[in-house]
Symmetry: C2
Subunit: 343 residues, 2 copies
DNA sequence: CACTGCATTGTTAACGCTCACATGACAACG
DNA sequence: CGTTGTCATGTGAGCGTTAACAATGCAGTG
């Protein structure tokens, strides 16, 4: 077998393959690019030579002449969180199957300058399009301002962003959760919201409020957190002050975890005394104490859809949609039950 | 101000800048590469022209001639998990500050072919080095076989990998956890292990066993899980069968969460009846019920150190280390207490 | 049999940059 | 006042690929 891998001590190039196969370099190029005007026998000979030398095309040279890098960029804020991490995973898979490479750039902070900086960084790499995972209003606002020669698509950034993107229908999810709690007979539902500068937090809060308003239920004051379990815990302590609380809808599972912890510590029964619902359905949610009723969103799917959107733009498909909404799903577990004295 | 961004409808190139500044393209190149042989006044003129046209160097052309892509590749298995996600984050930051771009490739499965495929994919992009986040023995084995013209470094892959890399000292962490439980007066410590094909799982198990052996404590049979909370829950159910269990060391926090859940359900007091220790210190660990004593490992640091290692290899620094061990730290919380009837 | 058309292959010129070397100016030196 | 050296700049080649066009051969056609 082959795998020489060097010719005169350097990486083999197209000309080396051509020489070995007894053809011109252009014929090698044709074989590589599946050009039909190559005799079958010649093609074979070239392929053998390629294998023999373990030749790999130089992507820089190809990019230089075709002006296509086959690379897409992903900008993300905190890939440590479950959501962004899962989206990134979905994105990479979709990119590969669409024939693109993926380059990443993470944001230092959320101001416009930082977003522009990351996009520039990717532009320097000649990416053909940019996908942004940054669900904060500031980031999205910055995004709308970004000067870019290439298409930019947002993923998971609420539904009102001024740039094309794929997002979960947060409002629908929040409505489903709130409605379910009301159906269980709770007089009203309290809400532990996410940071108000996150689009997702805004949408979930809006959905929750809309359902209460429609049902004529009182709309309690919102307690806000920062998505962390710690902030959920603090919100939980706050809710404990109010004996009327019987149902809580948390804007994400981590905060729900904190709430559960606060309630457990205080000896409140869940769901006996208080029902709790989360949002996200992180893998651990079924193993909370008690298992958490929550709204599942498929982050991987979101990433894939976002990437498809971007590819459509990059490849200039006319009439391609510029907005995709993914429906979330309410998952029932042990943290919710009928209100005391209700049906 | 400037930002013309096109010259005759195309992206500006070095020659356009040169013309505008009244110099040769080579002088522009010198300015861009901080060559000292440029008169200050000329440099200024060039910089102005660059800004005026919003010129950005074509990276493909530069890569073609310098044979350096300024890009490093990262191969990872499941970026959805907290550990890998955090490492990726650390890696990207370190890469940026070292002046490199980061391209990612995720693995479909863990066999050697898949690893080779991912590395090849990155090679096709002309990366100058590859960082692998894949802590399974199979992946590391495959890694040792990988044919690659560029340096390959593993991150978080136990301490015995046959390729250079950065890892947490899992054994030390496990020893610390086990020792602590023994000090609390527990007769012995049970272990919920990770999948046996993960190097981390092996090392943690080895550390646990070594301490028990040294202390002359009985070494109970190990219960194995797959890192998930679900498997921890099942392990917990299993442990409940044995009334002698008073202390459990879990190989990660998610499994510890499952164990907590099983014990809570069964009405066992934690830490009154049973003490539980985890490993990782995920952000939620302090909000488990009860808060989890665990072994903290700094994944971000791990990623940074791994990247530094890789950069040292890429830049051919002689005498550079090829192995870095990061020390973990035992974090005490509410899930552990002295054994009943002990000191 | 000259002529057209198609399949196959080769030749040459970009792509935009850096490297090696050439050039010109001007000061310092004997 | 020619020689040497140094700084600042320019010139030309080449990196490895694809695109455009040219050339060849061979079958089919009138």
């Amino acid at each position: 077998m082959g795998a020489a891998n060097t010719v005169n001590g350097r990486q083999p190039v197209m000309a080396d393959v051509a020489r070995l196969a007894g053809v011109s370099h252009q014929t090698v190029s044709r074989v590589l690019n599946d050009n039909p005007h190559v005799k079958e026998e010649t093609r074979e000979r070239v392929l053998v030579a390629i294998r023999e030398l373990d030749y790999r095309p130089n992507s820089a040279a190809r990019t230089l002449v075709t002006r296509r890098s086959q690379t897409l960029g992903v900008v993300s804020f905190d890939t440590t969180l479950y959501g962004p991490a899962s989206m990134l995973y979905g994105i990479e898979q979709a990119a590969r199957s669409a024939g693109y490479f993926v380059s990443i750039a993470s944001l230092r902070s959320l101001d416009g300058r930082s977003v522009q900086e990351a996009v520039d960084r990717l532009r320097d790499q000649a990416v053909e399009g940019v996908l942004v995972i940054a669900p904060q209003t500031s980031a999205v606002g910055a995004l709308a301002q970004v000067r870019s020669a290439v298409p930019v698509v947002a993923v998971g950034s609420g539904t009102q962003a001024r740039v094309p993107g794929a997002a979960v229908d947060n409002e629908a999810g929040a409505r489903a959760a709130t409605q379910y709690l009301l159906h269980l007979g709770h007089r009203t539902v309290h809400h532990v919201a996410g940071p108000s500068n996150w689009l997702d937090a805004q949408a979930r809060r809006a959905g929750w409020r809309a359902v209460l308003a429609d049902a004529g239920a009182p709309v309690p004051e919102v307690v806000s957190g920062d998505w962390s379990a710690r902030s959920g815990y603090e919100a939980g302590l706050h809710l404990l002050d109010n004996p009327e609380v019987t149902a809580v809808f948390c804007a994400n599972d981590h905060m729900a975890l904190g709430v559960l912890r606060a309630l457990n510590e205080a000896g409140r029964g869940i769901p006996g005394d208080i029902s709790v619902v989360g949002f996200d359905d992180i893998p651990e949610a079924s193993y909370f104490t008690p298992p958490l009723t929550t709204v599942r969103q498929d982050f991987g799917e979101l990433g894939r859809r976002g990437l498809e959107l971007l590819v459509a733009q990059v490849e200039g498909e006319s009439g391609s949609k510029d907005r995709v909404l993914v429906a979330p799903e309410l998952v029932l577990r042990g943290s919710t039950a009928a209100a005391r004295g209700a049906g």
